[in-house]
Symmetry: C2
Amino acid sequence: MGKSMAGHLLKAGHRLHVYTRTKEKARDLLTDGAVWEDAPGSLAARCDLVITIVGMPSDVEQVYFEEGGLLANLRKGTVLIDMTTSSPELAGRIADAAKKKGGAALDAPVSGGDKGAREAGLSIMVGGDRHVYDEVLPVFKLMGRNIVYQGPAGSGQSCKMCNQVVIASTMLGVCEAMAYAKKSGLDPHTVLESISAGAAGSWALSNLAPRMIEGDFDPGFYVKHFIKDMGIASESAEKMDLDLPGLALSLKSYRELAAKGDGDLGTQALAKMYGVGPSK
Amino acid sequence: MGKSMAGHLLKAGHRLHVYTRTKEKARDLLTDGAVWEDAPGSLAARCDLVITIVGMPSDVEQVYFEEGGLLANLRKGTVLIDMTTSSPELAGRIADAAKKKGGAALDAPVSGGDKGAREAGLSIMVGGDRHVYDEVLPVFKLMGRNIVYQGPAGSGQSCKMCNQVVIASTMLGVCEAMAYAKKSGLDPHTVLESISAGAAGSWALSNLAPRMIEGDFDPGFYVKHFIKDMGIASESAEKMDLDLPGLALSLKSYRELAAKGDGDLGTQALAKMYGVGPSK
């Protein structure tokens, strides 16, 4: 996703400096004129705006807080934007640290996946100071279509958590209905014809249920990444003393799925836990 | 719903005989030319086609199987259609009994609610013999827009159960996300702006979450009716030896809601269990 997103900035005429752990992944960008940097810290020292999108909150922690990282080397006035789906609490700590160094930070996780990144059609949920958001909005517009300011630091991440919390239980409903259809001897395609357009309708039902039926478990969004996101939401809910039993149930089922070795499949593979898929 | 649906048949020029437990509810239809019958059995003895839509499976059982009921008085060749959301197993028993009497029966539950019934826009899911379905299809077309033949007797009910099973867990996801948004101090409307159009999107999120936020718990679809439907799905799943933990969790939460006296609210009132609604 990072490569597609950076490509849009380059195409728009921005001078782009890049760092990735695996330099090979940046090759096309470098061919197109991006400048290589050997460490995150060099980016923070040289650029007006630094955008990160990495894997886990622990990766974010490292890139921002390690010795050669972004915060230790931050140039005054530079804006840091983390677009990783990460924890609201960590986003808050980064924003505080950036301010202390005379810079600023936004949390701006996205939804829309690889396709959204390629087509500059991401939904971007932004937390941080409003005036910083207003300043960098033109850059967000190069990468996304639905860009919404959600509130102070961490609010972008909290909004993304809401997104994942909805999906968590919705996936249970879709899988359970497909399992019920199969057990009842119904044609699941015919069931979808009846139920997709009404009160049961959802993006997941329209887009993922057909793939469940066909046994197509290729990743649009990885099981392992969804587990990461639900884990963050779950911990954060617990800290807020908020009981989310649907989220807990979904996370438990997905962890069982991953324990069977299916973490690299798409989230629709949850259907396997219910015996849904093409009949052998 | 029955009144609107019968009205469409009358307007299309069909000769309509009616029976309801509360005669008053049929007054407008009688004014418009419908003929009153004193018992379900009289309808079965006099009409080519009898359509029922009542409350609980126990009501269906009574209307079909009691002494003055439909089956005991069924005229040869008459088609019985039950449009109540009821159990697949009961639909199968009705179809068997109708055949033995030289008639036929279809199960044809609907989704789309009062509005769908008024606007002849219902989704109708039909189970029974295909040739009987083909024969009465013009009548279904007077009441609905999305009419799908689902398979042998009981399949219409099974399909409707799939619909309710999807909704059951989807509602958990929507409520939990709105609760997370509130606890995080986000503006829930702004959250919906970010998440409604993407992978978290659903009919429930777009239509019911805004009502949860406003504390508008007026019934589109009653909590008590949803509990009935989920109860049927749950029993039927158990008979098929199918474990549906999302459905079980949702049913448990809705039963707790009803136990607090909220059975006559709309299904979006589940949000109350999560403390969602306008801040006082």
